[in-house]
């Protein structure tokens, strides 16, 4: 067997290595081969010195197995780490923990994304079959809210990751303290031998308390991020009776819930007057108050909140189809365009029934 055949066979037999590693080994052995040739040995002599193909392959196989054993977590606390200092061990421990933590965080994130997609699909299917679930307002009609849900899930994942990091940190510290105390045990009086255990219990107790706080914090973030927001959009004002409307009548009410702002648009010159109203916190703002702000008084008992809730109680999602009719004489009737033809308004008071017309 010549040099080339010998090296080829070895390279072929090193199936447990990847292609690049096999090439590296071939180059190394070629160097060794050539070095021995320079000493005056012939092919047989060189191959006799290096060893048979099987011997060489076995050498690499053993080395790989040894390498894998040394890299395994069980070996981390064994002989190899014996060479390392305490700080080295700590750093290595952290490396392992953080790696796991990153994976855990990503897994939670992916789960959140998956659940959001499932929810969106469910809502879409329900909507297609004529049902409009409450979440449809957020998951389908407003993409920005879907994004908000995703962001909130991400924040929750981060909060959970931070919590786990804290817990793992405490575990690592406890483990290191235990190890140090164990190594110094011969210098510790026997009655103090239980000290690490008590310390560990103390740490775990505080870890549990922090766990609860962090969990509550995460929930608060999720609750705040997913708090229902009113959909934005323009709600046209349909004038039923024009007799009393002058040129400055309001033509539209523009509700921008994301900016907590209500705009009243003049019918005459399309000028816009913005009225700041905190729709999320002060949804008791009545239409009468709204118009009073504009300088004209109209009667009306419905609040934005009640409109919304009443709409929901009828089984519809009122806002996207809501048309507010403003007669300037006495009352503010409510005109609702609904997809459903079976809306039951019998539960409403006669006054409300009189105010509601359904197309």
């Amino acid at each position: 067997m010549n040099r080339s055949e010998y090296l080829d066979r070895i390279e072929r037999e090193l199936r447990f290595l990847n292609a690049e590693e096999r090439r590296d080994v071939r180059e190394d052995l070629a160097e060794l081969y050539d070095g021995l040739l320079e000493r005056g040995l012939d092919d047989d002599g060189v191959q006799g010195r290096i060893g048979s193909v099987r011997e060489v392959v076995n050498e690499y196989r053993i080395s790989e197995q040894l390498d894998r054993t040394e890299r395994s977590p069980s070996a981390a606390s064994g002989a190899r780490l014996g060479w390392m200092t305490l700080t080295g061990r700590l750093a290595r421990g952290f490396g392992v923990q953080l790696f796991g933590l990153v994976w855990f965080g990503l897994a939670i994130l992916m789960l959140g994304v998956f659940l959001t997609i499932v929810a969106a699909v469910v809502v879409a299917v329900m909507t297609a079959f004529g049902y409009e679930p409450f979440v449809a307002t957020f998951a389908v009609s407003d993409a920005s809210v879907t994004t908000g849900v995703l962001v909130s899930v991400s924040i929750a994942s981060l909060a959970l990751s931070a919590l786990l990091a804290l817990r793992l940190l405490m575990r690592v510290i406890a483990a290191q303290v235990r190890r140090r105390l164990r190594s110094d045990r011969h210098t510790i009086p026997r009655q103090d031998a239980h000290q690490p255990g008590r310390f560990s219990v103390w740490l775990n107790r505080w870890a549990a308390v922090l766990h609860v706080f962090a969990g509550a914090f995460a929930l608060a973030i999720v609750a705040a991020a997913t708090y229902p927001v009113l959909p934005s959009g323009e709600f046209p004002v349909v004038v039923e009776r024009t007799v009393t409307l002058d040129s400055s009548a309001i033509s539209r009410i523009v509700v921008d819930a994301t900016r907590n702002r209500v705009s009243l648009v003049s019918n005459a010159d399309s000028s816009t007057r913005e009225v700041t109203a905190n729709l999320r916190a002060e949804m008791e703002l009545t239409f009468a108050q709204l118009f009073a702000l504009e300088g004209r008084v109209a009667e009306g008992s419905a609040t934005i909140r009640s409109l919304y809730q009443e709409g929901l109680s009828w089984g519809i999602n009122p806002f996207p189809e809501l048309v507010v009719v403003i007669p300037v004489d006495v009352v503010v009737p409510i005109h609702i365009q609904a997809r459903e033809s079976h809306i039951d308004v019998s539960g409403l008071s006669p006054d409300h029934q009189r105010l509601v017309t359904i197309e």
Binding site: D24, L29, L32, D34, G35, V56, S63, D67, W83, G88
Partner: protein
């Protein structure tokens, strides 16, 4: 010398050879086999393992005698490993010597 015992200290010997100057594989084989009888084939898998463990790095350098040679350079981690190994080796050597001498005296 027992093969397993030699293998145990070979990491340290290889790292010691490149502690102050970079060397190529066959050069290491020659230097070590000059003092310790060991099969040449055992050095290269060891070098691969040291590189996988990031205790050494490699680079190619042109050679007057043919193809570029792969040189091995010790890393910071490798140097720390070597320092620890030296200390451990000293302790083992002293301990073993003391035990062997103690045994000789008793006989």
């Amino acid at each position: 010398m027992n093969a397993q015992l030699k293998k145990g200290i070979l990491d340290m010997l290889v790292l010691a050879q490149i502690d102050s100057v970079d060397r190529y594989g066959f050069e290491l084989v020659e230097r070590i086999s000059r003092h310790v009888e060991i099969a040449e084939r055992t050095i290269y898998p060891l070098l691969k393992r040291l590189r996988d463990d990031k205790l050494v790095t490699t680079y190619l350098r042109e050679s007057d005698q043919g193809a570029p040679r792969k040189y091995y350079r010790i890393t910071k981690a490798g140097r720390r490993y070597l320092e620890d190994a030296r200390v451990a080796w000293g302790e083992i050597r002293d301990g073993v010597d003391a035990l062997l001498e103690d045994n000789d005296e008793q006989e």
